[in-house]
């Protein structure tokens, strides 16, 4: 789902000049864009060697770290924005990571594949797990170890004491604000600690 258009729509949520921590920053594309277009500063966190290399190559600060070990490296409220783009579903300890995100950043922005998108529902209705563009993996061979829905996240955010300040879906490079749980393949949430 990390298509350019989606990334830009998520990037628009980040206030100009923000100090940003991008958890699971991939090849650093989003951070580089935020640096160039919104004068943001900050760091990306990555585990994969190839991505760390790609970030260094494009001049993005990257720290090689396993997110499952937490964010002990970062003090409370030390960032304006903490991003988790397409990262949440790969982490075992979703709730802890969400709390850590809210602890370290003033604003948290999370995006993940929405399992309740209608084609996924159809797949499940026919008795099979979905294999789609947003969820391209077979059930037995997927890095997505936590699949949730737009609606599920609202519940989790509430139980973690997070205040959702904006939320919408993304579908084919467009923002979906009407019935996102049904009509969007990607869920996007912006939240703050209550």
């Amino acid at each position: 789902m990390s298509e350019r258009k989606d990334l830009e729509l998520i990037a628009e949520l980040v206030p100009a000049g923000s100090r940003v921590l991008d958890l699971g920053c991939g090849n650093g594309e989003l951070l580089a864009w935020l640096q160039q277009h919104k004068s943001c500063t900050g760091y990306g966190i990555e585990l994969a060697d190839a991505n760390v290399h790609a970030c260094v190559k494009r001049g993005v600060n990257v720290i090689q770290l396993n997110l499952e070990e937490g964010l002990a490296l970062f003090d409370d409220a030390s960032f304006d924005v903490v991003l988790q783009v397409d990262t949440l579903q790969h982490l075992r300890n979703t709730e802890r990571m969400l709390r850590e995100t809210a602890r370290v950043g003033r604003i948290g922005i999370v995006s993940f594949p929405n399992f309740a998108h209608w084609p996924n529902r159809l797949h499940v209705l026919t008795g099979r797990m979905p294999v789609t563009r947003a969820l391209p993996y077979q059930w037995h061979d997927t890095p997505n170890i936590r699949v949730g829905t737009f609606a599920d996240f609202e519940v989790l955010a509430g139980s973690c004491g997070l205040q959702v300040t904006d939320s919408f879906g993304l579908q084919a490079g467009r923002v979906v604000r009407r019935w996102p749980n049904l009509l969007a393949s990607v869920a996007v949430f912006r939240f703050e600690q209550r």
Binding site: D49, H53, I63, L73
Partner: protein, 376 residues
């Protein structure tokens, strides 16, 4: 990728005494150094390479005697630290036994070799000496200072005390200070040397002898700590020295290959390394602790380095300078909002990995130096 080819060390003499952290001063000294590549017109492409415990100014290329530089796999034309782009300086620190003024040289005050009278030098003293050399070479600001292990400590110290004199710091397999365990290893090595009957209180040269036995043991201990358990297991395991696989039931002769290897390393080392230098350099390692002057806060120590940019690299199996120690430095930098990238390379070789050419490690180094080159 080529080699630099034949290189010749140069020497620079300094008549102004170097004030040392201990309060003493080093009078009338010389530094030996090598340079590779060409200094550009605006003198903005210079990179200083700091050496670790048993290395020298001979970073890359080869000498007439055939010896290859200790970081030749990293530094050279087309290599990660590309000498076609950068002007690279390798310098031998004072107190060493490879050419710069050290304990084997004559003490101008007595006319005899310094021996144990050579003043105790610290990482900070070395950096101050390097600053003078760089200044003499007409360079106002280095593009980067690079080092691994003890060399990494020097690279860090540049940003702590001379932050305007460099732009980038590349510190590999290093630590913000030594742990008790690390100091302990150094102390065992020092005791091996000092208790050698040939040590003569450090004035062995005046007695026309060398404490080789002590040096051998010191090197053996050091060598064990530079390798990972896995690397040692893979290389030697329980392999026996005897080809027929029979045990000799002897307590003093070599039975296992690892014993043979360590003794060989110790023998080799004791032939070329000076015992007083070993004492001095291990002490410099022990003393380095930039947080000490800031109430133990490494973050406060690095507040000076806000204009510098950093690359830190550690290796997963390095238990002497573990990734956790590098992460402490990363945290101090992040706390100061300083630009830093950090790579934790999964390598099986232990501390020695920083000298090897692991492709992921070298790819990150290359990418970072390429960025430095483009920013000029």
């Amino acid at each position: 990728m080529g080699s630099i080819g034949l290189v010749t060390p140069q020497q620079m003499h300094f008549s102004e005494p170097l004030p040392l952290k201990s309060g003493a001063a080093l009078a009338d000294y010389a530094l030996v150094f090598e340079t590779y590549g060409t200094l550009n017109a605006d003198k903005s492409n210079a990179v200083l390479v700091c050496h670790a415990l048993n290395a020298s100014h001979h970073v890359a290329g080869r000498h007439e005697d055939g010896s290859t530089g200790w970081w030749d796999n990293l530094v050279g034309p087309g290599k990660p630290l590309d000498t076609e782009r950068f002007f690279v300086i390798g310098v031998n620190n004072p107190g060493s036994c490879f050419g710069s003024t050290g304990p084997t040289h004559l003490n101008p005050a007595t006319g005899n070799p310094y021996g144990a009278d050579f003043p105790v030098v610290t990482v900070e003293d070395w950096v101050d000496a390097q600053v003078r050399l760089v200044h003499r070479l007409g360079i106002e600001q280095l593009a980067a200072v690079v080092g691994g292990s003890l060399g990494g400590m020097q690279a860090l110290d540049w940003t702590l005390r001379h932050p305007t004199l460099l732009r980038h710091c590349v510190a590999v397999a290093t630590a913000p200070n030594l742990s008790a365990q690390n100091i302990a290893f150094n102390e065992v090595a020092r005791r091996a040397i000092v208790t050698d009957p040939d040590f003569h209180g450090g004035h062995y040269l005046a007695q026309a002898t060398l404490p080789k036995r002590g040096l051998r043991v010191a090197r053996m201990i050091g060598h064990i700590t530079y390798l990972s358990d896995d690397a040692m297991e893979a290389k030697f395991g329980r392999e026996l020295k005897a080809l027929d696989g029979r045990l000799g039931y002897t307590t003093q002769d070599i039975e296992f290959q690892i014993e043979s290897y360590l003794r060989h390393q110790g023998d080799k080392f004791s032939e070329y390394f000076d015992a007083n230098t070993y004492l001095l350099i291990t002490r410099a390692l022990d003393y380095f602790d930039p947080a000490l002057a800031h109430g133990g806060s490494l973050a406060r120590a690095f507040a000076t380095a806000r204009q510098n940019r950093f690359l830190l690299v550690s290796f997963t199996t390095d238990w002497r300078f573990s990734p956790a120690r590098s992460r402490e430095i990363v945290k101090a930098l992040v706390d100061n909002r300083i630009d830093v990238s950090y790579a934790e390379i999964e390598a099986p070789h232990g501390h020695d990995a920083f000298l090897l050419d692991d492709p992921r490690y070298h790819a990150v180094m290359r990418a970072y130096f390429d960025r430095i080159g483009e920013q000029r």
